[in-house]
Structure formats: structure tokens, C-alpha cells
């Protein structure tokens, strides 16, 4: 087939052929997995039952999907997915982006006022903000320093258990425990990071994964200290700088001459996590301007070049690791005080993967992107409760898709914080050569 002919018209025959091949492959993949269901029968033994409709439907989806992809992919106007959006629209989007962050911030501040009576939405807002904060924290490690941390949830767990145990055993208040939890988490970050940060990127990821699992297994099995699988319940709720949220004369409502409602506590929690998240964001943005932040970004781009320029890579990695861990610790202690109950169930690998997915989808290194991704992925799926079980499926597929089509993230691109004023153009050939 000549390229010219391919470019000028839609090649329907070729597309049908492609689609048939794809359907045959899909039949191989799905025939057993989707076409048959294994479930315990009346006797209690596993029995197999056929699901022809599901199989046929999934094959039809594959056929149609592949057909359209081939049809458009073979048409030169659509060779690149990114070019579907015309340049004008993209410029307008870029302008819009500048206003997006302040608008989102204003909206976040206004949520408790707008939805004061809607308890469900407030809780959802708290959840989204918690994940946004975790995302921003992990963004320091993954997005800025380029270290893939698969055990991030371990530090979240350290923060949560620190608060729970300190508050229960020593009756310390939330505001005393919060920095302690952060310090403990970052201490663990340093402790775990110190031996392993000499490792190469991929190995580091696996080792952090192993550490995350070890911490979880220890929490599950160290019953006398952590309560084991039953977790810790009755964790003290937060108070408004010492004033409890209850219906007593010295409670928050009575003191401020308000009618008592449990929503006060939720609104307070909302603003606490919003503040914590914004602190994380502000610290990250400031750090990016400092020498250490620049070193992180340089490290992400090229470790060997960094080392030749005299940057102590181990220390640089360690600070990124510890800073990220500290914010996870803050988020963890907030999580503990909000839930009032924690158990190892909340700190499984899937949580780490979820936070990582948010960072990846948002665009590694982009603050706004992470916030948007957290809102879309956590909030979006909460709203469509029926599809809850598909959440991680979509997350996994989206992670692959993002890496294939837009490795710099869906929402925004990661731009270096510092660059030369005068831009030099480098011929494509040299760039290509340098990349090898």
C-alpha cells in the first residue's frame, strides 16, 4: 500500500482486517477469563458457568475500538493523538491554566460555606484534600527528585500510628502530636532511605515497596503495641485549640454562641486538612527555588551529571525522601484523628499505588496537576458509587495509557523551576544523539 493512498482516504478494508485480528487475540484473552465464571455451586464445590453475553459484548467492544483506532491512525491527519487539539485551543487552555489554580483555591476555601448542610460533600472534600496532600508529598519524591517510592504509605502509617499512640498513651493534643508525627515519619524516611538511596531507580522502587510491606507486616503482628489487625480505636478527636466540639457549656458551639451541630467539627477538620495541604504545596514551591530543590530537579534529569558537578547525591535524595515522608506523617496523623480508628487495612500497597497513580496522572512535578487528578480520581469515583470496583482498574489502565501517550502527565507538564534566560536552539539530530 502506498503511503499517499493511505493518507488521502480512510482505509476501511485494512481497518476491518486489523479489527478482526484484534478480536481474535481478545478472544484468546477473554474466552476463559470473561466467558466463564467460577463460583461455588450448590454443593459448595467450585463450578463453572458460561457467560456468553459478556464475552460477546467485550469482543464487540474490542472490534469496534480497534476498527476506529485503525481507521483514524491510518489517516495522516490523526497520526498523533496530541494533535487532535488545535493549537489555538491549546493556547487558550494555557491562558486558562494561569487562572485555574487561584480559582480552585477560592473554591476549596468556599466549599464549607457553600455546602454547609451537605455532610457527605464535606466528608468527600476532606478525603480529596487528604489524597491531594499525599499526592503533593509524594510529588516531592517522585516528581521533583525522580525517586520512585512505592512504599509511601508506610510513612502515612507511621504518622497515623504515632498520633494514635501518643494521643492515647500520653494524652497529648493533636497540635503537639502533629509535628511529632511528622518528625517521626521523616526520621523513618531517613532511617530507611540511608542504606538504600545509593541504588538505581528501579531497585530503589522495589526496595521501598519491600520496606512498606515490612512496616505493614510488623504493624499486623506486633499486637501488644499496635493492636494488630484489630487496629486502634477511640483515638481522641481534634479540638479547636483546646475547645472540644461538643454540646457542653464549655464546648465550641456554646462558647461562640452558635447552635450546636456536629458539622462544626467536620468544617474544622476540612480547614485543617486544607491548611496542611496548602502548607505542603507552599513548601514545595518554595523548595523548588532553593538550591536543594534545584538539585532535586537536576537529579531527576541526570544523576551522573549531578555527581560530576559535585552534588552529594545521597544527601540530596535523602532530603527529598525525608521531606516527602514528613508530609505523609502529617497526613497520617490527620487521618487518624479524623477516623478515630486505624488498622493496618488502611495502609496496604494499593494505597501507595493509588497515590502514585494520582501523581503520575497529574503530571509528575506539577502541583496543579496533582490537585486536579486527586479531585477527578477520588471525587469522581465517589460520586459514581456503582463503579467503585472499577476504580483501580481504571487507575491501572490510566497509568499505562499516560506513560504511552503523555508521559509528562495529563493535566500539566513538569517544567524546570530554573532555566537559562536565553534559550539556545539545539538541532534535533544532536538531541537524538544525546539521548542514546
Amino acid at each position: 500500500m502506498q503511503p499517499a493512498a493511505r493518507a488521502s482516504r480512510f482505509d476501511i478494508g485494512g481497518a476491518i482486517k486489523d479489527a478482526l485480528v484484534a478480536t481474535m487475540v481478545a478472544f484468546g484473552l477473554f474466552s476463559l477469563m470473561l466467558g466463564l465464571l467460577t463460583a461455588p455451586g450448590p454443593s459448595g464445590k467450585l463450578e463453572v458457568s458460561a457467560r456468553p453475553q459478556l464475552l460477546a459484548a467485550s469482543l464487540a467492544v474490542v472490534f469496534a475500538g480497534r476498527f476506529f483506532v485503525s481507521l483514524f491512525a491510518r489517516n495522516s491527519r490523526f497520526t498523533k493523538l496530541g494533535q487532535i487539539v488545535p493549537p489555538d485551543a491549546r493556547n487558550a487552555l494555557k491562558k486558562l491554566e494561569r487562572f485555574a489554580a487561584p480559582a480552585l483555591l477560592l473554591f476549596a476555601l468556599a466549599v464549607p460555606v457553600l455546602f454547609f448542610s451537605n455532610r457527605y460533600l464535606l466528608d468527600l472534600g476532606i478525603l480529596v484534600l487528604t489524597y491531594t496532600m499525599l499526592g503533593w508529598g509524594l510529588n516531592i519524591v517522585v516528581g521533583l527528585a525522580g525517586l520512585l517510592d512505592l512504599g509511601y504509605v508506610a510513612f502515612y502509617a507511621v504518622g497515623a500510628y504515632s498520633y494514635a499512640l501518643l494521643a492515647k498513651e500520653f494524652e497529648l493534643s493533636f497540635w503537639v502530636c502533629l509535628p511529632l508525627a511528622g518528625i517521626l515519619a521523616s526520621f523513618w524516611g531517613i532511617l530507611l532511605g540511608f542504606p538504600v538511596l545509593r541504588l538505581r531507580g528501579d531497585y530503589l522502587a522495589i526496595v521501598t515497596l519491600a520496606f512498606g510491606e515490612i512496616i505493614r507486616i510488623v504493624i499486623v503482628n506486633w499486637q501488644s503495641f499496635t493492636g494488630g489487625p484489630n487496629g486502634i480505636s477511640g483515638i481522641p478527636r481534634p479540638s479547636f485549640f483546646g475547645i472540644p466540639f461538643n454540646n457542653e457549656p464549655e464546648g465550641f458551639a456554646a462558647l461562640f454562641h452558635l447552635e450546636f451541630t456536629p458539622t462544626h467539627r467536620v468544617v474544622f477538620l476540612y480547614y485543617v486538612i486544607l491548611t496542611l495541604a496548602l502548607v505542603t504545596c507552599a513548601v514545595t514551591i518554595r523548595l523548588r527555588q532553593l538550591p536543594i530543590g534545584r538539585a532535586w530537579e537536576a537529579l531527576r534529569e541526570d544523576e551522573i551529571a549531578c555527581r560530576s558537578l559535585g552534588i552529594n547525591t545521597t544527601n540530596t535524595k535523602l532530603t527529598a525522601f525525608a521531606t516527602g515522608a514528613m508530609f505523609a506523617g502529617f497526613a497520617g496523623s490527620f487521618f487518624a484523628t479524623r477516623q478515630g480508628f486505624i488498622s493496618p487495612e488502611s495502609f496496604v500497597f494499593m494505597e501507595s499505588a493509588l497515590v502514585l497513580a494520582i501523581v503520575v496522572l497529574g503530571g509528575m512535578g506539577s502541583q496543579l496537576g496533582v490537585a486536579v487528578a486527586a479531585t477527578a480520581m477520588i471525587g469522581g469515583f465517589e460520586l459514581f458509587r456503582n463503579f467503585e470496583q472499577f476504580r483501580m482498574l481504571v487507575f491501572g489502565a490510566a497509568m499505562v495509557g499516560i506513560m504511552v501517550w503523555r508521559p509528562r502527565g495529563l493535566v500539566a507538564t513538569r517544567t524546570p523551576s530554573v532555566f537559562l534566560e536565553e534559550k539556545k536552539t539545539i538541532p534535533a539530530a544532536i538531541v537524538e544523539e544525546a539521548r542514546q
Binding site: 467450585l46 463453572v48 525522580g146 512505592l150 491501572g396 506513560m403 539521548r435 542514546q436
Partner: protein
Amino acid sequence: MDYFLQQLINGITLGSIYALVAIGYTMVYGIIGMINFAHGDIFMVGSFLALIAFLALLAIGVTAVPLALFLVLLIAMLLTALYGWIVERVAYRPLRGSFRLAPLISAIGMSIFLQNYVQIAQGARVKSLPPLVTGAHVLMDDGKFVVQLTNIQIVIIVTTTLLMLLFSWLVSSTRLGRDMRACEQDLKMASLVGVDTDRTISLTFVLGAALAAVAGILYLLYYGAIDFFIGFVAGVKAFTAAVLGGIGSLPGAMLGGLMIGLIETFWSAYFSSEYKDVAAFSILILVLIFMPTGILGRPEVEKV
């Protein structure tokens, strides 16, 4: 002594399964230098396919266990290999030449996807199968403790040994094996001298997946129960085995698999079974820190 012997047998059996999975990790790492994080889930998919195929065969009236097992082996290896191929094609091939962490992130995404795909398709409950291969040989009996070698353990050890021999022959003496070794040494140079690198990489994934499928079947037969999450822990342990043996080295993966199986079994037998995963994970960390090339691996030269 007899307790020790029994644990040795159990450890070798477990290690055989890990070794089969570890080969998939080590080969992929050897050729394209990436950790195929989804390989553990390929193992899980293989195990599920075997379970479904076996039940389907029972339903259509194939009840003779040896024949059914043979067919299950064929079906599961074939279909799992297809999964391995499609995973490489969809998630890894477009990423050659992307930035450093891209393939690993994609692999993690694929792993999450496969886990949830199986969970949604077949349910989250543990699937259990009554033991198919029964019977045991008593090796030692001193009245207090009976050391026995069960038939299923014999099946596992013999199958693994045969597959290892076949695979070593394949890598050392066939055209494909030569291509694979060439790609492992230098991907670019191999493509210059006429090796179809894309095809070789694809076939590496296919072979790794087929071996993982066998491991999945053996796991299903040995433990009799599987769920969608078995791939995660088994995957990390098999990866540990690959690293311990020296990643990129085929005999290393076999040796590492056996060692991890033995260490885990002895740890459970003599210390605590709650912390047996901690033992495997700690070995991974210690090996990576102190002996990153493993036992049989070659030192990695960092290139600019």
C-alpha cells in the same frame, strides 16, 4: 534431623515454583533492563486460567486427571503466553526510549490493572480446588515424626527440573536463544547485525509468561487455593530470587529461587511463620545493598 529433612523437601518444592517465576524477571531484566512488575500478576493470571480450564474440562466430561492436567497445562501456557505478549505490546513496547521511570510506572499500572481485571472477572473470593494429585511416600518414620514426600511434590520438582533443562537448552543451543543472548549483551549492536530485537523481546515475554503459567498451575495444585492477590507477594519473592541469584543470569534465577524457597521454609519452621514475608523482603533489601550483583550476576557498568 527428620524435621529438618521434611522442611528441606518443602523448601525445595516452594523454591521450584519461585524459580520458574524468577526466570521471567531475570530474562526481561537481562534484555531490556526493566523490572517487569506485572510478571507476578501474569503468574496469577496463569493460575486462574488453569483453574478455569480445569473446571471447564470437568464440565465437558474430561475426568481422567492426567489427561485433564496435560490439557490444562497446554491451555494455560498458551493463553498466559498470549497475556505476556499483549502486556509487552501494549504497555512496554511504546515506551522504548522514554524517560527512565516510564516502563516501571507502566508496569505497576499493568499490575494493578491485571489484579483488578481478575478480581472483577472472577470475584474476590478465594477459589479452592480439592487436591488432584494425592498420595505420598514415607521416607522416614521413627514413630514420632513422619518424613514424607508427597506425589505432588514429586510432580513439582520433576516438572521444574525438566523445564529448566529444556529452557537452558533453548537459550544455549537454538537460534532464538542466541538472539536472546545477543540482545542481552547489546541491544543496539544486535539489531545492527540482523537480530530482530522487537521479536526477540516479545518472545522473551512469551516464554517468561509460559513458565509463569506452569508455576501458577503448580501453585494451584500444591496449595489448592488461589485468589487475585497471590501474584503480588509471589512476584516480589520471585524478584528477590532473581536479584539474589544475580539478575540477568539464568542459572542465578534457578539458584536464587531455590534459596528463597529454602530460607522462607526454614524461617517459618524454626522462627515464626508470621514474619516469613519479612524474611524474604529483608533478604531483598540486604542483597541489593550489600551484593547488588547477586551470586552469579555480572557487575553492572554505569554508562553515560
